[in-house]
Subunit: 314 residues, 2 copies
């Protein structure tokens, strides 16, 4: 059994390889060539904590992956990070444990950001350049990096809005050091009205983006709503959008943005179908499109498998 | 994060500590002071393999445990063991990963055998001495050891029957080296008629023990049926028994011996209730009693926690 620590995992991550693997994993899920059982879940109410176990197998892969992720929301008071976790990779041929990836949540951050960039590429208008990022946390940073890396031809003009102005400014500084120009702004409505593409990355439990702020042709990739009760988009905006794309329909209707609007399930298509060409994507420059990204075990598998290949494990 | 290998785990196992912890875990499960979510499951039909993920938390414990266990039934053809697996221990206070126990299934073998001995102690007639073990695999060996260790006052007279005579003889030799006298026998019916206590430990998918072979007062601890389709006891025997005890009622009705007989659920009591004194056990020396042991995540947690304490991890 190999044990890979976070630092080694970071050094082994090849963005382009991982993005290709994650794109393929969306297609696998939507075409039924992946086994993704229901997520395991255990709560620790006294500690305001929980643990999710995501696992599955992309058919044909030599490896399958079990991800253990904890969130203990009182941890910051103890000076500890909220999130913890690891992945276990096993042989899909023999059941042997091949590796433990002590990534401390790093791969989840990266695969979430890459998934968002894949959705934006598939759904935004070809000439869309004005990128508004809502939020200034790890996911805001990773999505800024992933969108610029995955879509360099767009030459994005990036704006950051966050509830905490100082954090938006801090993130802009961090990104500048990575060669990405981004302007912090405190005018949320104005920035939403001006944006071509909006990325929502917050843990909000009430709508941040209002329907009447959004111009025709805008694309929104919404990644915050990953559990029941979370919500970043005005339900009227979801209702009004012409193109509704889920990473996984059932999951988005259970706890994603799409669960907050009374939607006819038949209006929703899956990202993997768009990527495979089996469902139509954007039809014109006037459609409002929304990608509801709740996060899939298949992304974890794709991310872990890329690292394991680079490490010579599989 | 500590990594404990099999050899270290074996050396850290204190049988008496572990038996106490497992007894308490049955009481915790039956009294509702444990969170044990449904078992995660993934199949690999092309390799004739599967993976079970058992996890949970005994309320008040500082640690919770996730067990990953694989069974790949074509492995012996490749010269590999069928079973593999590991446990991961995390802090129930902060969600941090504390340890990986690379036990390769050792703790499952031991906790299963200890659970069987606890059931036998709780349910068999006080003077029952004639012990028949059906099967000659790892679990037959471990149950012989656990029963003799846990119930030394019984001074068991032990017989072993297995479909393969040579294996029964081999196991008797192995046990002799551990100071336990056991006689191999090839007369199944006769041995069943003579036994006070029967332990069934096989992966059989059809009844081995027939109802009309079983004398009044006999106790049976059945551990083989741990998945749908498995069966060691004649359903008429289950129907006829006066004392039906499940490790967990829902689990036994889903895939244990009790699932093979059309039973009124109200006839079944839980082992934890008997151990806590909240449900009556054996009433007289004439009752036939059956303990249906499907295996609980709480046993894994208790076993792992005992090892972790001995290792100074928690």
């Amino acid at each position: 059994m190999r044990i890979l620590q976070r630092e080694e995992i970071v050094s082994l991550c090849d963005f382009d390889e991982m993005a290709s693997a994650i794109e393929r994993s969306y297609v696998a899920v939507s075409s039924g060539s992946a086994t993704i059982p229901p997520v395991g879940y255990i709560q620790f109410p006294e500690q305001n904590g929980d643990c999710h176990i995501k696992f599955g197998h992309l058919h044909g892969d030599d490896v399958f992956v079990i991800k253990i992720a904890t969130g203990f929301y009182n941890n910051p008071k103890l000076g500890l990070p909220t999130s913890n976790g690891m992945m276990v990779a096993l042989s899909a041929k023999t059941g042997e444990v091949l590796a433990v990836l002590q990534d401390e949540g790093y791969l989840t951050d990266v695969r979430t950001a890459i998934g968002a960039a894949i959705a934006t590429k598939a759904l935004a208008r070809p000439n869309a350049k004005k990128l508004l990022i809502i939020g200034a946390g790890i996911q805001a940073r990773e999505q800024a990096l992933a969108h610029n890396r995955f879509l360099p031809e767009r030459d994005f003009k990036t704006t950051i809005w966050a509830r905490n102005k100082d954090k938006a400014a801090e993130l802009a500084q961090q990104l500048a050091k990575r060669g990405i120009a981004a302007n912090p702004s405190d005018a949320l409505e104005e920035e939403c009205r001006a944006a071509d593409i909006i990325l929502t990355t917050t843990p909000s439990v009430e709508p941040i983006v209002q329907s009447d702020w959004i111009a025709p042709g805008t694309h929104i990739t919404a990644s915050g709503a990953d559990a029941p009760g979370k919500c970043e988009l005005d339900p009227a905006l979801v209702q009004r959008a012409q193109l509704l794309v889920a990473d996984k329909v059932d999951q988005c209707l259970d706890h994603g943005e799409f669960s907050n609007a009374a939607l006819d399930k038949t209006r929703i298509i899956e990202l993997g179908e768009v990527l495979a060409g089996s469902a139509g994507g954007r039809q014109n420059d006037e459609q409002v499109s929304i990608a509801d990204m709740t996060g899939l075990a298949s992304q974890d598998i794709a991310a872990a498998t890329t690292v394991l290949k680079a490490a010579g494990v599989s």
